[in-house]
């Protein structure tokens, strides 16, 4: 799966979980400060990424990811 496809699907998941307009989602957007994710939504986001891409991520490292671009890179690492 190429990065463009990963990015598209990551943005779809973010919009669904955080219930926001996909237009607000930019590569540098911070989940907490820019997109308004609280701690519970942060976990739900990670869970939704796992489901979307059928992967199991390292919990500690996944929780350290803060931006949309970071999430795309992190997930890409699991899909190599």
């Amino acid at each position: 799966m190429d990065k463009a496809e990963i990015k598209k699907r990551v943005e779809k998941v973010i919009a669904q979980v955080l219930k926001i307009d996909p237009k607000e989602i930019t590569p540098n957007a911070n989940f907490a400060f820019d997109l308004g994710a609280d701690s519970m939504q942060s976990i739900e986001l990670i869970a939704a990424f796992e489901e979307e891409f059928n992967i199991q991520m390292d919990e500690q490292k996944a929780r350290e990811v803060q931006t949309v671009e970071g999430a795309v890179d992190f997930i890409a690492g699991y899909l190599k």
Partner: protein, 460 residues
């Protein structure tokens, strides 16, 4: 001033000599204790407790029954059998005393003896009345406790006697015990509120003089009864409330050896456990207790607490079977119907349950952070979390993993339980819930959101 430099170590120092986790934390002493008695410094060596034959005695069926409706015979026999297993083959739980006055009391003793258990030895309890020895003798008991009240509150205002009349009566009863071939154990009732030089010490010295005429195994035992919980273990507390001074005088001025001295406390001032343990440390061998601390008014030293302290002081089990404590509380609640406070140490429903999410997070990462010792191995009680809106995702994950019995890499992440976590939070945020989530409700959530795990780990 001594300067301390940060030691930025590569591996953590978990102080495992003191906190072995496989046992309750070990109690260590680094020097002697000094007490001022009659203007002189007297030394106590707390490390002596490591080698002295300290042990526990029980009064669940005597003092314990004064605080609650009587136990049925079957219940006492069952508890007695469990006490025997708890204390183990070395007699850490050495004796248990019983009433002798009713037919039920006597039938219970017969039924306990029929189990043919070495420990705890069965002893009796009678009032200071010569006629009551008939009961002790009929039951063929080797030892009995007897009331020998020692404060003027009791002598003057309860017994309407002078000190001499009281002492003469007590001595008569002790002589009668010997004549009947029974070892007397004098219960110095209210001793922490008594005139020590004016009554207690002359009385005990007289008992000791009389004991010279009998063999060692018949010499008088002394139970120090802190009837109202006035005893104080603090260094240099004044008499008669000072436990260190009381024990020292009985040992060094009256000649009572540690094996013949016992402490019996009450919890009126929240000091019952620490006073009992201090009495061990200051030089007597027997600590009298009741199961879960049930006893007159505020209760007695809790048996299970004393057992735990014994292990901590000795640094080993010496045959003690700690998981029986959990059996006992389960039996107590199920069959006897008395429920203990959920936060009661070692046995309460929530004694090792955490509710705070941040604690649950710690527990999930490294159990020892928030568990006092290996409660799963020593008490059959793994640490648990109780789920509320404060439990966090870590708390929910910990609960689910414990519920499913998952270990190591099998354990589910917070992501895997996120839907259950969402349901929990909605209960509070959307439904306005005020109570904890029950285990049954959480089980339903596991069935709904993690059906494959439920089927694999819980279905059967």
């Amino acid at each position: 001033m001594k300067t301390y430099e940060l030691q930025d170590v590569a591996t953590p120092n978990l102080l495992e000599d003191t906190f072995p986790y496989s046992l309750p934390p070990v109690i260590k002493f680094e020097g002697k204790i000094h007490e001022l008695i009659d203007g002189k410094i007297v030394e106590f060596d707390p490390n002596e407790v490591k080698t002295r034959e300290i042990h526990i005695t029980d009064t669940t069926f005597r003092d314990g029954q004064q605080a609650r409706p009587p136990y049925k015979k079957d219940q006492m026999v069952r508890l007695y059998e469990m006490m025997s297993r708890l204390g183990g083959p070395n007699g850490v739980l050495r004796q248990s005393e019983f009433f002798l006055y009713t037919k039920n009391d006597r039938e219970t003793i017969d039924a306990c003896r029929a189990l043919n258990l070495r420990y705890p030895e069965i002893t009796g309890w009678i009032r200071a009345n010569k006629g009551d020895f008939r009961l002790v003798k009929e039951m063929n008991l080797k030892e009995t406790g007897m009331l020998t009240s020692s404060s003027d509150y009791h002598i003057f205002h309860k017994q309407n006697q002078t000190r001499k009349q009281a002492m003469d009566q007590y001595v008569d009863v002790v002589q009668a015990a010997w004549e009947a071939g029974i070892r007397p154990r004098c219960h110095l009732e209210d001793v922490t509120r008594a005139d020590l030089p004016g009554f207690v010490l002359p009385f005990v010295q007289q008992l000791e003089r009389l004991s010279e005429q009998v063999p060692d195994h018949m010499k008088v035992k002394i139970r120090l009864c802190d009837t109202m919980g006035f005893g104080i273990s603090y260094p240099n507390a004044a008499e008669p409330r000072s436990i260190p001074k009381l024990i020292w005088r009985l040992r060094h001025e009256c000649g009572i050896t540690p094996d013949r001295l016992e402490w019996h406390g009450h919890n009126d001032f929240h000091k019952v456990h620490i006073n009992g343990v201090s009495s061990w440390i200051y030089g007597l061998n027997a600590l009298n207790t009741t199961l879960f601390g049930f006893g007159e008014r505020t209760g007695n030293p809790p048996l299970e607490g004393a057992i735990m302290e014994y292990v901590a002081l000795k640094g080993g089990l010496n045959g003690v079977n700690l998981p029986v404590i959990t059996e006992m509380v389960e039996y107590y609640e199920r069959e006897i119907g008395t429920h203990l406070a959920s936060n009661y140490p070692f046995v309460g429903k929530d004694f090792n349950t955490t509710r705070a999410g941040i604690h649950a997070g710690g527990l999930r990462k490294f159990e020892q952070i928030y568990n006092i010792f290996d409660t799963a191995a020593l008490l059959n009680r793994p640490p648990r979390v109780s789920i509320t809106d404060k439990s966090g995702s870590d708390g929910v994950a910990l609960w689910v993993n414990e519920f499913l019995g998952l270990k190591g890499d099998e354990r589910l992440t917070v992501m895997k339980v996120s839907k259950i976590f969402r349901w929990v939070m909605d209960q509070y945020e959307k439904e306005g819930r005020m109570s904890s989530i029950t285990d049954e409700e959480l089980e339903e959530q596991v069935k709904a959101h993690l059906p494959e795990y439920y089927a694999k780990h819980r279905k059967n």
